[in-house]
Every structure is written in structure tokens, then in C-alpha cells.
């Protein structure tokens, strides 16, 4: 039996097709989100990769910011529950999740059964999210993919103290004009994201294993900065952008079994 999870985010669309609630048959990411062609493109990619048709999918669960806008789902489930489900499936020792996506960041506390015990999300502010990194990457003229490499080379990380993305942008510009090395500035940018994430983590309660997901988890510089701040190891979920869609596909599987 095949089930599908679709995570319609603000900045990207993710689809996971799951075989028998176990094997990931497809996990596709398109870097545009709700309101765009992203969800359909991710869906088409996943179907063509598996050679399946929509009729072959027993159930679909939608999650993410655009979960209600996507029409083809049997059910909508919040991204909190879906991330928890997906990550626990991949790493059952997970007790704390930090998920940083394009527009929000969330800290989720799980119990030993993988149930959500508590969660906190950032308030509506781009600080500490993927959007913050996008802005900095543009100002620094360093692609998002290269940022981790740069920060790994930092000898003397700078401090980016402004919370507000706009203020931080001008702070970074002034550091650039003072001739501070981009490596050091980027390390400071990562540190800034990490400290916002850790504020959420501390509120939810930190317990190992700590697992990071979301698009920003692909940036090892941020992962390392969070680990440094917590003084604890931080694992990265495999294919970290698709854990929400995976959780949705797992819920879809449970639904399909029930009906």
C-alpha cells in the first residue's frame, strides 16, 4: 500500500510517498511553497519517480502552512505532530526536535513513545529562521550552500546582536564595511540563529537525543552553533527537509489501515 504526505511550507513544498508505512519510495522537495506551482510540481515529481498514479495512493495527509490550501488531501495535520512523527520514525531515540524552516522555528519535546509533550514556535518574526539566513546570504554574496564552509573557517566569530532581521542586515553591512572577514560574520550569523533556536529549546526543555530538521538543518554551521550553545550533540535528521512530509505519510498510512 502506498500513502502520501505533502508538506506545503511557506518557502518550499515537500512530498513523501511511503510504501507500507515503512519504505520511502520518493521524497521530493521543490523550493517554492504555498500559493505557487510548488506543491503540484513536488507531487508530479514524486509520482513520476515511483511510476505511480494518484489512484494508487491509498490516503494523503497534508501538513505545513499551506495544508488547508492544498485540495487533494484526505486530512490535514499540524506540522508539529507531523515532524514529531517523521523524526521519531527515523530516530526513535529522539526526545527533542529543533526544526528550522523558511518562516518559522519550532522546538518540540517528545516522550519515549514519540508523542508531543510540549512545543514552542517562534513568534511572528523572521529572526532565527531560514528567511534570516536568506537575507544574510544575499548581503554577504555567499550562497546558502556555501555558508557552512565559510563559518567552519572562522578564526574569530563576529557578534550579530540585533534580533530584527532588518537591523541585523545593517549590522552585517557595517561589519563588512569595517573589513571583518565574511567567514567571521557568517559564524556570527549562525550563532545568532542558534541562540534564537536555543531560547525555544530551553522553554520546551532539552533532553537527548536532540535532532534537527527543516531546511536550515542542511547548514552544518547552524547545527554546530546550536550544539555549541547547548553543549550537547545535535543529530541531523536524514533528508531533513522532508521529515514533516514523512510524518504526514505515516499518519496517512495509519488512516488507511483504519478505514
Amino acid at each position: 500500500m502506498f500513502t502520501m504526505g505533502i508538506d506545503v511550507g511557506s518557502a518550499s513544498s515537500k512530498v513523501v510517498i511511503l510504501k507500507d508505512g515503512e519504505t520511502i519510495a520518493a521524497a521530493e522537495v521543490v523550493q517554492i511553497g504555498t500559493g505557487s506551482s510548488g506543491p503540484k510540481r513536488a507531487l508530479d515529481q514524486a509520482l513520476s519517480k515511483t511510476g505511480l498514479k494518484m489512484e494508487d495512493i491509498a490516503k494523503t495527509v497534508a501538513t505545513g502552512y499551506g495544508r488547508f490550501a492544498y485540495e487533494g488531501a484526505d486530512k490535514q495535520i499540524s506540522e508539529i505532530s507531523c515532524h514529531a512523527k517523521g523524526i521519531y520514525h527515523l530516530i526513535p531515540t529522539t526526545r527533542t526536535i529543533i526544526d528550522i524552516g523558511g518562516q518559522d522555528a519550532k522546538a518540540i519535546k517528545l516522550d519515549a513513545k514519540g508523542h508531543v509533550k510540549q512545543f514552542y514556535m517562534n513568534d511572528k518574526c523572521a529572526a532565527g529562521t531560514g528567511r534570516f539566513l536568506d537575507v544574510m546570504s544575499r548581503v554577504l554574496e555567499i550562497s546558502i550552500e556555501e555558508m557552512a564552509e565559510y563559518s567552519a573557517r572562522a578564526a574569530n566569530p563576529a557578534t550579530v546582536s540585533s534580533t530584527c532581521t532588518v537591523f541585523a542586515e545593517s549590522e552585517v553591512i557595517s561589519q563588512l564595511s569595517k573589513g571583518i572577514a565574511k567567514e567571521n560574520i557568517i559564524a556570527g550569523v549562525h550563532q545568532s540563529v542558534a541562540s534564537k533556536a536555543c531560547a525555544l529549546l530551553y522553554r520546551a526543555g532539552v533532553e537527548e537525543d536532540i535532532v534537527m530538521s527543516g531546511g536550515v538543518a542542511k547548514n552544518q554551521g547552524v547545527v554546530d552553533a546550536i550544539s555549541r550553545e547547548l553543549k550537547k550533540p545535535v543529530k541531523v535528521a536524514p533528508n531533513p527537509q522532508t521529515t514533516g512530509a514523512l510524518g504526514a505519510a505515516l499518519f496517512a498510512y495509519e488512516e488507511a489501515k483504519r478505514s
Binding site: I80, Q118, K124
Partner: protein, 426 residues
């Protein structure tokens, strides 16, 4: 109005009638040269009522404007005047409104924005009365009103309760504040304080509060005949007509109707009451409909809220110690353990499965302690909670999609807890 048959009207019709009447009476009183007072929402209303001063409530008024989506224009006016967006949006709406009233009074021409404001007219005040049992914003807000209009400002200063029960010296202090307010009123009115009427007013306030308590009890039934969002609608009267017969009539009518529904087995969500929750904090007035619908679609019924309960002020008429304690001990003015206790009781009373905390950009007093409060309440009650960001009257500080995600996650957590309980029971 006299040909209206109040007996045959529903509670909802009565609410509309008396809410409108409160403003009509005030405008009429203003025209007839009677004194008008603007009052903070949990300042004691009994003193002005005893002196036949007509009182209106800017927080109430701002909430009504917010609920009818009229706040942005007034917030903008206040901002132009220099009020920071970090100030409470009730205050900002009121300062925006004040600008328009002043312009009208000075020019004789009604500004368009005033004519367009979707609320009953507030007459300009002759005095203001405030009390810091809720917050200190209310001090500066009312002092500012008084300074802008060159009118007297009566302040009932109450000490913060670090311990319970409230110590006698603190009660004595609040009583001295009452006494000073009485003296100020005597001066403003030019006649001695009417202690006989004061006692009558106190008695009426207690009857109204008893009727309000009757309503509050209705959400303790499971399933509940009452949708707790109605607290937010009906509370207008416990705020602005607390010491008037009007509120007693409406609340008793509502309680009668709900008791009738209960008897007939008619419940707020029919047979779709899946979960019950507590809304901690002020409503998001501009999004009242959205927040309600979002929760209803999840089968989540509001059955607890500490905010409307703040006006459940109990004392024996004539007993000033008790009156001082009632006004000084509302849950915004007590130490954290007592606040946690109060919220715990709300959860228990409403048989709630979860709680959502409104982190209100406007209201620091109701928000800054939330993280600690939430953890302590969770420890005590074990029910899951979420927090969401919002604002009671500034729509720009609320995101419907973010609200929906958080409450959906709460519903999922409640479902999980229920499934666990079922498993254990088997």
C-alpha cells in the same frame, strides 16, 4: 424603549438592548449636564454610581471597536500623536478616539473618522477614575487623559499581593484610597457622599455578580450548553453595568436559557464536543469569529477563561475590608502561585483538556509571566498547553494561520492524551 417587552426578549436581544442603552444613557446624561466619568474596567464603579455620575469604560469601548474591525484607523491616529506601538492597543484606540472627540468639541464639526467609528459614541468625560489592580498602563493612560482634558483623575492605588491572604495593613491602605476617592468625589460634585445610595449600589453589584457567576457555572457541564466565547460577548455588561440592575437581568435571563437547554439536552456543539479548553488571556477581538470558527472546526469548545472571571468581585455590602480585598486580589495582582492556582481552578471548573495562552503584544501583565505560569499550571493540572501570539485590538499583531497551527497541534495533543487514558483504562 418603554414599549419594549423585556420579558419576552432573549438574553442576546437584552444584551444588545442594554449595551446600547448604557451609551445612550451616557450621551443623554452628558447633554443634560450630568457628570461623565471614564473608568478603568476593574476600578470600583460603586463610588461614582453612588454619586449619580454616569460612567463609561474606554477598554470596553475599544474592545467593541476592535471586534467591529474599526481599530486600525484609531490606532494610526494615536501613533501619529506619538504613542508607541508598544503601548496597549486599548489605550491607543482610546487616545485615537479622544483626538476625534476633541476635534469635534473644538470645531463643532464631527470628523469623518468619528462618524465612521463602528461603536456607540462616548461622551467626553468630566473626570476619570483608574485603578492599578490590572496594570500600570492604566495609571499613565488615565493620567494622560486627565492632563489632555484638564480634568480630575481619581486613582485607586492598590498594592501588589505578594502573599495571601491579603494583610490587614494592605486592606487599610486600599480603604484609605477609597476614602480619598470619596473626598475627591465630594469636592467634584459639591455635595456630601451618599452613603445610603452607596450601600444600595453595593447590593446591586453583588446581585449582578451572583447572576454572572450563575452564567459562568454553565460551562462546567459536560457536554456544555454554553459556548465559552459567549463570555467574551456578555462580559461587556459585567464591566460597564456591574452595579446596575441591567446586568443582573441579562445574566439571569442567559442562565435561565442555558439551564433550559441543559434540561433539553441541547449543547453548544451538539454532539461534536470533542475537547474542552481554557482560553487564558483577553480575546483577540478583531478575530473573534476566526478564532471561534477555527476551534469549532476541531470540535474544541471553550469552557474556561480567567479573564471574564475577574469581574466576579465578591464582598458583603457595607464591609469595606472585603470590598478592598475583592478589588485588590484579582488574579493580575497576586503572586505567581496564586495566579497558577486561579488558572488551575478555571481548568478544573471547565473540565478542560487543554489550555491556550494568548501572548498578547498589548498586555504585558497578562503575557510576560506566561512561560513560567504555563509550566507551573502544567505541573499542577497535567493538561497540555500552547501559546499563540496576538493582540486584543491591534489586528496587525495576529496571524490567523499561526493561530490555526497552534490550536490544531493542541487538539492533536489532547487527542493523544485521551487515547493514552483510554488505553490505560482498558
Amino acid at each position: 424603549m418603554s414599549e419594549l417587552n423585556l420579558e419576552s426578549m432573549s438574553a442576546k436581544q437584552l444584551l444588545a438592548y442594554y449595551s446600547e442603552k448604557a451609551y445612550q444613557d451616557a450621551n443623554e446624561a452628558h447633554k443634560n449636564g450630568k457628570l461623565i466619568c471614564w473608568s478603568a474596567s476593574v476600578a470600583p464603579s460603586e463610588f461614582c454610581d453612588a454619586m449619580d455620575i454616569c460612567t463609561v469604560y474606554p477598554e470596553n469601548h475599544a474592545a467593541a471597536i476592535g471586534a467591529r474591525k474599526g481599530s486600525p484607523a484609531l490606532l494610526e491616529l494615536a501613533e501619529k500623536k506619538g504613542y508607541s506601538i508598544d503601548c496597549c492597543s486599548y489605550a491607543r484606540v482610546n487616545f485615537g478616539y479622544l483626538e476625534l472627540l476633541k476635534e469635534e468639541a473644538l470645531t463643532g464639526v464631527t470628523p469623518q473618522a468619528l462618524a465612521d467609528a463602528p461603536a456607540d459614541r462616548l461622551p467626553l468625560p468630566d473626570l476619570v477614575i483608574t485603578c492599578n489592580n490590572l496594570c500600570n498602563t492604566l495609571l499613565k493612560w488615565y493620567e494622560n487623559l486627565a492632563a489632555e482634558l484638564h480634568i480630575p483623575c481619581i486613582v485607586i492605588d492598590v498594592p501588589f499581593n505578594h502573599t495571601v491572604p491579603m494583610p490587614q495593613y494592605a486592606k487599610d491602605y486600599v480603604k484609605s484610597q477609597f476614602q480619598y476617592a470619596i473626598e475627591q468625589l465630594e469636592q467634584i460634585c459639591g455635595r456630601p457622599f451618599d452613603y445610603d445610595k452607596f450601600l444600595e449600589v453595593q447590593k446591586q453589584a453583588q446581585r449582578s455578580v451572583a447572576a454572572w457567576d450563575r452564567v459562568a457555572k454553565m460551562t462546567s457541564y459536560k457536554p456544555s450548553p454554553m459556548n465559552g466565547f459567549d463570555f467574551f460577548n456578555y462580559m461587556a455588561l459585567i464591566v460597564c453595568a456591574r452595579s446596575k440592575k441591567d446586568s443582573e437581568i441579562v445574566f439571569n435571563k442567559l442562565a435561565d436559557e442555558l439551564e433550559e437547554k441543559l434540561k433539553k439536552g441541547e449543547y453548544a456543539f451538539g454532539d461534536n464536543e470533542k475537547f474542552r479548553f481554557t482560553w487564558e488571556g483577553i480575546a483577540c477581538w478583531p478575530y473573534l469569529g476566526h478564532t471561534f470558527k477555527s476551534l469549532r472546526s476541531l470540535g474544541v469548545l471553550l469552557t474556561g477563561s480567567g479573564y471574564p472571571g475577574m469581574w466576579s468581585l465578591h464582598y458583603t455590602p457595607g464591609n469595606m475590608d472585603e470590598m478592598a480585598e475583592a478589588y485588590a486580589s484579582i488574579y493580575t495582582n497576586v503572586a505567581l502561585p496564586e495566579k497558577v492556582d486561579a488558572i488551575g481552578k478555571v481548568i478544573e471548573g471547565g473540565k478542560c483538556d487543554g489550555i491556550a495562552y494568548h501572548i498578547n503584544r498589548s498586555c504585558k501583565i497578562m503575557s510576560f509571566l506566561t512561560v513560567e505560569t504555563a509550566d507551573m499550571v502544567k505541573e499542577k493540572t497535567k493538561v497540555p498547553f500552547v501559546t499563540f501570539d496576538g493582540d486584543q485590538t491591534d489586528p496587525s499583531n495576529f496571524s490567523p494561520a499561526q493561530f490555526d497551527t497552534r490550536v490544531q497541534a493542541l487538539a492533536e495533543m489532547m487527542e493523544q492524551e485521551a487515547a493514552e487514558k483510554d488505553k490505560k483504562a482498558q
